[in-house]
Assembly symmetry: C2
Homo-oligomer: 323 residues x 2
């Protein structure tokens, strides 16, 4: 299926495989550990069995990070103190391997790819995201991370989160890279005006993206849809990625089964979106950088959860007594 | 310093290096990311600079996990439904590579060593822990994890935490591997009786360990002291490790600078001890297995935090504009 369209991708996204999940739960009950003693990692590994349709599911390696970069018209409204040229400068920094996401990716053996989303309309951006996921999976990736770079991109993220969840602009608008009270009040009013002007309908995700989204938000939604269609998990990063996740789930609710929440960003909209999606983040350390950094930190945890189902002895095989 | 005594080790534990920490903070301010955007990872990397006395501090690899195994007289009082023979069976499982800690360690490239703590008196156990840390550092480890295995060992851990923090038996006694309400009430009363009988003095850690501790708790305290004396960080696992940490800090308060809280165990005493020590865990996923598992999950996060100081470009070097 070369270069699948959005419609073809949506048709390929399906539910979790219930028998594989039951098999993973049953296997967990026989492994040499007290029942439930791995906490949230047990259900995570069960869900990944459901995604792959096999028990155990494949160990999710190697990982590939796609950093979607874009610029934003809302920049002109004074929502950030950073120069807009930083988006392009940081793209060069990613390509040179000098950004935080590169350092974190080297730690865990993940590749980093930068995708320039230059289009202003959402459908090509969504389909660029789908194609990126397809390509990375074809190249061998077995888990994906959606990262982002775009000066001013927390403003459209806030508007998207408000549009999809019904939360107020005050609940979802945050300080991004670190803005003062005055600029935060202005940024919140910009989000509120955008929502009042466009009145986006959450049942029409392409319309929401067209009205208040940015290129990388749309591309990330497509990336998640593309991964889910291939039944490969995506680890969700911070507020940009989770706003894309809301769009992806609005396109196809079953995409949720492929999403692993990597971390809780300090940006308030991220927590609103995670709660709406029912996702519980693996890491919660106050990061607010984007680029995919928080999600990359979670990659070894996801792999460890799956390794348990491959490598841990059963009570029977190890000759360990049960209670 | 072959086989240092407890007294020699205590004399070698010192404070964090303030100029190295200042240098790490200054370096962070020049890296290509918004100030503070890595949240708790920034202060973690600063502290590790203070521990090593260099900026940047060494990347904390390779990691070595020492699983201290012991049996406990309190087993006879009916505090767990598991047969006592499971301690020894699990030691064989660790040696065969079939336990969860082995799977997690393989994911992150850590070695796993099992140390049988057969002695019933605390000083030899503490010094066995010191020697283990010395040996692993001599063999090249640059970060250590203290794990544990011992049927019934959450009972002495609860008593240690109550003794060192002043918390009540009800606050610190938990379900361990998963016991019912009736056994939990009995276990709590066993802890309360031990404390009432011995009235351990928290200013005398060897006395507290002798009165209510177990071999692996004492060994883990020594292990942390030995690591701190070598200025190598120790990632703290769950309720057993953190009860050992309380003893280590009672021996030498500066040991705290070498301790990184790996995760928050679901066992209630762990949170009491972490709060008392002022440690904020890196991972909080409801694990309650011990073996060092939660700490091993955190190892890549610690390494990632340090990598930032080695590998991320500065605004100046990367030609990225500042706000």
């Amino acid at each position: 299926m070369p270069n699948p369209t959005l419609a073809e991708t949506l048709a390929a996204v399906g539910p979790l495989d219930v028998p594989a999940m039951a098999a993973a739960r049953e296997l967990h009950s026989r492994l040499t550990k007290p029942a439930g003693s791995l906490g949230e990692l047990e259900e995570l590994s069960v869900r990944l069995a459901g995604l792959s349709g096999t028990c155990p599911p494949p160990i999710p390696e190697p990982a590939a990070v796609a950093v979607f970069a874009g610029d934003h018209g809302v920049y002109a409204q004074g929502v950030t103190p950073w120069p807009q040229e930083v988006t392009g400068q940081m793209v060069l920094n990613f390509l040179a391997g000098g950004a935080v996401v590169n350092a974190f990716a080297r730690q865990t053996g993940a590749s980093v790819t930068v995708i320039d989303i230059a289009v202003a309309s959402p459908l090509p951006a969504v389909e660029a995201g789908i194609r990126t996921a397809e390509r990375l999976v074809d190249e061998g990736a077995r888990i994906l991370v959606a990262g982002d770079m775009g000066i001013a991109n927390t403003t459209p993220a806030a508007a998207l989160i408000a549009a999809f969840t019904g939360a107020s602009p005050e609940q979802v608008t945050g300080r991004g890279t670190g803005i003062d009270d005055e600029m935060l009040a202005h940024k919140t009013s910009v989000v509120a005006r955008a929502l009042a002007l466009h009145r986006p309908d959450p049942a029409d995700p392409l319309g929401v993206l067209a009205a208040v989204g940015g290129g990388e938000h749309a591309a990330i939604a497509g990336f998640m849809l593309g991964a889910a269609a291939r039944r490969v998990p995506v680890v969700v990063d911070g507020v940009i990625a989770v706003s894309g996740a809301l769009a992806a789930v609005a396109f196809a609710p079953d995409v949720l089964g492929a999403l692993v929440s990597g971390h809780r960003s300090a940006e308030p909209g991220a927590s609103v979106a995670l709660a709406y999606l029912g996702l519980n983040p693996l890491v919660d350390l106050g990061l607010r950088l984007g680029e995919g950094t928080g999600a990359v930190l979670a990659l070894p945890i996801v792999a460890s959860a799956v390794r348990v189902l491959h490598e841990v002895a059963t009570f029977d095989s190890a000759g360990v007594s049960e209670k």
